[in-house]
Amino acid sequence: MTAALTIAAHHIRRVVRNPGLILLLLAIPLTFAIIEYAAFGRTVAKGTLPPATVLFLDEDDTLVSSALPQVFSGGPAKDFFELSQVQSKSEAVRLFKRGQAAALIVVPSGFQSAVLEGKRAELGFYPNPVQSIGPEIARSMLEMTALIGNGLYAKALEPIAQIRALVQAEREPTSDEVAAISRGFFEAGRRLSSLQGLSGLTVGVQRPGASAVKTGFGNDPGQFFAYVFPGLVVFGLLLIAQALAMRLMRDRLRGLQRRLVVTPVGPSAVILGGVFYLVAALFALLVFLGIIGAVVFRIQLRDPVSLVAIGAGFAIFASGLHLLSVSLARSDRGAGFVGSVIVLVLSLIGGSFVPAEQYPPFLRSLAVLVPNGAAQQGFIDVLVHKLPLAALGGRLAVVWSWGLAAMGLAVYFEQRRLRS
């Protein structure tokens, strides 16, 4: 055992002396986490989608047309839209082609006159064919605006129409008709002067597990990272395990392993030394990434026992997997090839690149049966869903079963190879 620990310590010292490659690989999960936060942080962290950019072309240049943009840029709609004025349709086409706008709204010349005269006043709506989400929402908003405009107009027109009818009939109004017309004007005036009732018609969103409206992951970036960081860490550890195992492969190709085996320490100590080195290094790096997560990304590392239980299981699996591929491969290229393919397939299935929640049901159930998927979901269960250790039995069973199986096979094949 002492010999194995000495060998492991020696391997680790070599990594510490030349850490460039490992630091590069460590940068992958950290960089991805930052990119994902920059891309979706303000939106996903709040549980909401980004605002849609709507272009506005005012060909009318009147009081009514200049009021229209405020519907999109002010009030409750301001969180959903970003309004940008354009000078021509060709400018809009250019922005459409760059994917920088969801839709164009055109207020044509003569719009205000048509509205005031009660004639057909047409607003132009041009959705961007490249985008799918923004145009539909912009269309709804514009339809709502037309509804409000027409609704207010209709309220004012009702008493006007009654007067017109009386004038056309060339008769004196009855006292009831006078009262109705007065009431109509009063109502229209009241509604036109104050849209409080309308602005008070709201649709709040209640999300699961939240007492307050509009929660999602909350406004806490730590929650966002607690959700995305575990998958990236698991992916990064698989890559790092491969790089660490490749050092053992190169030792073997250079004859170092053969020289060690012929010393009194024997093959078992050499194999165990490799196992200890890989598991200890991976676990230490996992802890390091956890600390980075807590300090930089403000992830609350709750329930350390559960995190250690999952992390240790996964470190054993990642070590076993790459030790196995190294022990079966004849060249470093072969080991690199097999390791890369396995890491790629596992990462795709396990949900390292896309959250498994977005997978179809079959793939979602498969995701938690692969060790990286189970570990990732286990970390999320602890950090986000705040599940206790007792509730993680299934995840732990998957991670540890894979870990022990991979490590067992790796040791078996390595022993067989060394003895042959």
Binding site: P50, V115, M144, R190, V203, Q206, G336
Partner: protein, 362 residues
């Protein structure tokens, strides 16, 4: 010239003999393209479903909202209570009376953990129905049905003379995205071959042959460029196989992605001259490619991210490539439309290649 071709051909043969290279040239891109193409395949348009729980005394609001939402393409069902996991709208007690009195009323939509585009669209439709109800309140003489309110303001929908193509989902998105990503990734990682050639003494052995230094570097570039071409043709072929619609100007498209491959190859060689250790070079290349891929909009459509990230894409070669490719696939853009991005590749090549040639230590 013959020496350049010999060096290039030697590099191509070496790449095509390595299983790992073959995997990342042909199998890996296919796995990614098929996986994400199927995962995000365009969903058939379906009516969004909404359950409504009315806590109001009368059925007026429930009926009115249901009628309006049904007319707006929403499948509505009345429920007694909120069911977990089902999008449900709760109409509070006193809603009809509040609307009748022109007062505000707060409805609650019980939704999923994070907002989806379907949910946002639904919210706007509900808000629209409420707006319509405000002007035709329950109990008023005007019926609160789904008929539009009469008035002078109408909406005329048109297009700006560009044809619509679906480029945000399925293979139509995954094939061009992963074409760009794997051309960039493989050519950047190919720089590790330069580091390996130097470390193994292969470069020295070539140098003692009767070849000039410019021939060596041109041969290395040509070999990598050819690998990029193989990747492009392979992905284009796969795209045709799965029936995606390509650009209206195929030769412009091919020239554009070829120029991208040339710039990527020279970047890869430059990277190879910066490292002694091939492993570190390859890892750095992977890291650079994987960072620039999402920044350039290869992993997710840029419409999903915020404005700052969208702007950032214009500073990355992957962003130039994807913007150009998108413009050609979505709008049938021609040479002039993508010229600014192509110019970016030319500049990148003009800077990185001489630098790589200067730095290359044999």
């Amino acid at each position: 010239m013959r020496n350049v071709l010999v060096i290039a051909w030697s590099d191509i043969r070496r790449v095509l003999r390595e299983r790992e290279s073959l995997f990342w040239l042909f199998v890996g891109p296919l796995i990614f393209t098929v996986f994400f193409g199927l995962l995000f395949k365009p969903a058939a348009p379906s009516r969004p479903a909404l359950a409504i729980v009315s806590q109001d005394a009368g059925p007026e609001v429930l009926r009115a909202i249901s009628a309006m939402l049904e007319a707006d393409g929403v499948s509505v069902s009345a429920q007694e209570a909120v069911v977990s996991g089902r999008t449900t709208l709760v109409v509070p007690a006193g809603a009809a009376e509040a609307i009748r009195a022109g007062k505000g009323v707060a409805l609650t939509l019980h939704a999923g953990r994070e907002e989806t585009d379907g949910e946002r669209s639904l919210r706007f439709k509900i808000q629209k129905a409420l707006t319509r109800m405000y002007f035709t309140p329950p109990g008023s003489t005007a019926p609160a049905d789904a008929a539009p309110i009469e008035g002078p303001i109408t909406i005329a929908e048109g297009d700006l003379g560009v044809s619509r193509r679906e480029i945000t989902a399925g293979f139509q998105r995954s094939v061009p995205s992963y074409l760009v990503m794997f051309v960039f990734l493989n050519l950047l990682v190919s720089g590790a071959g330069i580091a390996e050639d130097r470390a193994s003494g292969r470069l020295r052995r070539i140098a003692v042959a009767p070849v000039s230094r410019p021939e060596i570097i041109l041969g290395k570039l040509l070999g990598r460029f050819a690998i990029g071409w193989i990747q492009i043709v392979y992905m284009l072929g796969f795209g045709l196989l799965v029936g995606i619609r390509w650009a209206d100007h195929p030769w412009v498209f091919f020239a554009f992605v070829s120029l991208f491959a040339l710039a990527s190859a020279s970047l890869g060689i430059l990277l190879g001259t910066l490292f002694k250790d091939p492993d570190k070079c390859a890892s750095t290349a992977v890291w650079v490619a994987l960072v620039l891929a999402p920044l350039g909009g290869l992993w997710w459509p840029l419409e999903l991210v915020g404005p700052s990230m969208r702007r950032l894409a214009y500073f990355t070669p992957t962003g130039w490539a994807m913007e150009g490719v998108n413009a050609m696939l979505a709008f049938g853009a021609g040479a002039w439309d993508v010229a600014p991005f192509a110019l970016g590749f030319v500049l990148l090549f003009a800077v990185s290649f001489p630098l790589a040639a200067r730095r290359l230590r044999i």
